[in-house]
Amino acid sequence: MSDVAAAPSQSGTVRFLRRFRRQTLSLWALGFLIVLTLLAVFAPWVAPYDPLQQDLDHVLEGPSADHWFGTDELGRDVLSRVLFASRVSLLAAVQAVLIALAIGVPPGLVAGMWGGWVDALIMRATDALMSFPPLILAVAIIAVLGPSLTNAMIAVGVLLSPTFLRLMRATTLSVAQETYVEAAQSIGCTRGWIIRKHVLPNVVSPLFVQISVFAGVAMLAEAGLSFLGLGTQPPESSWGAMVGRGFRYIAHAPSLIVFPGLAIAVTVLALYVLGDGLRDSLGRETRQES
């Protein structure tokens, strides 16, 4: 009878890839992030100098053929330091996002799925958490746990988690009201099956978008906290910490903050652009206006 067969079908992934491929800007952003990650992983091999090797004959120099990004107050090569710091910065962002996901997603899912008083309770708790001024909350967490990068990122993760929670709750709520969830119930699926097979696959796309954006936010937060001395502790260094210490020499060697600063700005921008592209390509196949 029908001859719909004419067109070959694709999986959701292929469909996503086809759409994503058309987002030129996002492709560039993705490319940049991949290169950055590779550079971070292979920093010991690509960095021209040991990032800790001091050269007191050449301190606070501007960019040159020997030192592309110049040197710092102890004569260390800034390019190498930026490369090594990228490991810390990227890892910190990943940490914060993972923590935010771990704290935010399960209760969001539960609130959206169960509703009623469970939902009310979770949302009240979230509101309470969000009513603290973020910086004070972060400083408080770090004061309790002690200043270290991981603790700083726990603080950032806690701060970001309510957004994941709300996003998760809202999408779960709307998916849980879809008829296909009721339909699954009507054929005798258990609740666990429904959550695994029908709810989760349909709530992850908006999550991906948010993850990408929040990785950028986390990176900025890490930079801010490290700048204030609350994050990365020496001798380890992140981009934010580099900016923080370079600040003292801003008059003599602006390159000390320009390069790590640029690294932060471009990476955060790339993450945002990627998030935008994901949003457009992951759009569910709906037949109606938004």
Binding site: S2, V4, R18, E289
Partner: protein, 330 residues
Amino acid sequence: MAGPLLDIEGLNVDFLTDQGWVTVVRDVSLSVAPGETVGLVGESGSGKTITSLSVMRLVPDPPGRITGGSIRFDGRDLLTLPERAMRQVRGNDIAMVFQESMTSLNPAFTIGDQIAEAVRHHLGLGRRAAVDRAVEVLDLVGIPAPRDRVDHYPHEFSGGMRQRAAIAMALACEPRLLIADEPTTALDVTVQAQVLELLRSLQQRLGMAMLFITHNLGVVADVCDRVSVMYAGQVVEVADVVDLFEAPAHPYTEGLLRSMPQLGVRGEPLATIPGNPPLPWAMPEGCRFHPRCPYATDACRSGAPALTERGGGHFSRCLRLAEIELTGAV
């Protein structure tokens, strides 16, 4: 008569699918005069909703894109209007009742908040007045106990009540053109009759024009002055409503009329148009209806017919327009 209020000319809408760009609305022209009701009927997926969304400039982009044609409303081309001005047109001048009332109502807000929001935005009413207006329009569309119901969430309404709430929302700002996409499909016939009566009276009072999308030919017979029939992204017939029913000029329309379930015999199979509508990326050559048309000839398989006037403002997109005798509703 003044010029048409809404004048769509040669509209083309493309969608980006896995099969690349496909044209889902092809060269559609349509006009609605002030105070007139034009019906838009046709098979599922024929492009009725996309055509009406184009008027509101709400075609989801991506993946959709209006690639040609003009849409003039009251002399202004809506397609070139800046988004700011367009927002003013939406809701104020043109309102739309969406096909899926569930998706057009936000599950997170009460019905009253959503209507009040719309009227505050467009009519500049205060909070209290806006809520009063919401109660008033809910009452108008026959929602019982509207004072209580404004505080309810969409999932607490039955399907039909949600549809009425959506109609109320569209009517709240007294638009000059109402685009109603299957507004009564979820309603029982007595409420449907009430809603149609309400729309008619608003039309008389405000001179509101309507573009009325429906599958129900009984409703078409009841409310429409003129009808455009769509098939596979094209308009295949345009006629005055009586002409269309009594002397259809396109075989698809004939099939549609024949499929109308009459209050009648039980047991024997119902008449259908054999086969399924074509998918937009696999449109048949020639006349797009030919694989399902009982009158198709070799010519139909190769030559694409144009919309041709049979006389008296009755147009049909059929190569055999002059040769075949079609039967209408009895």
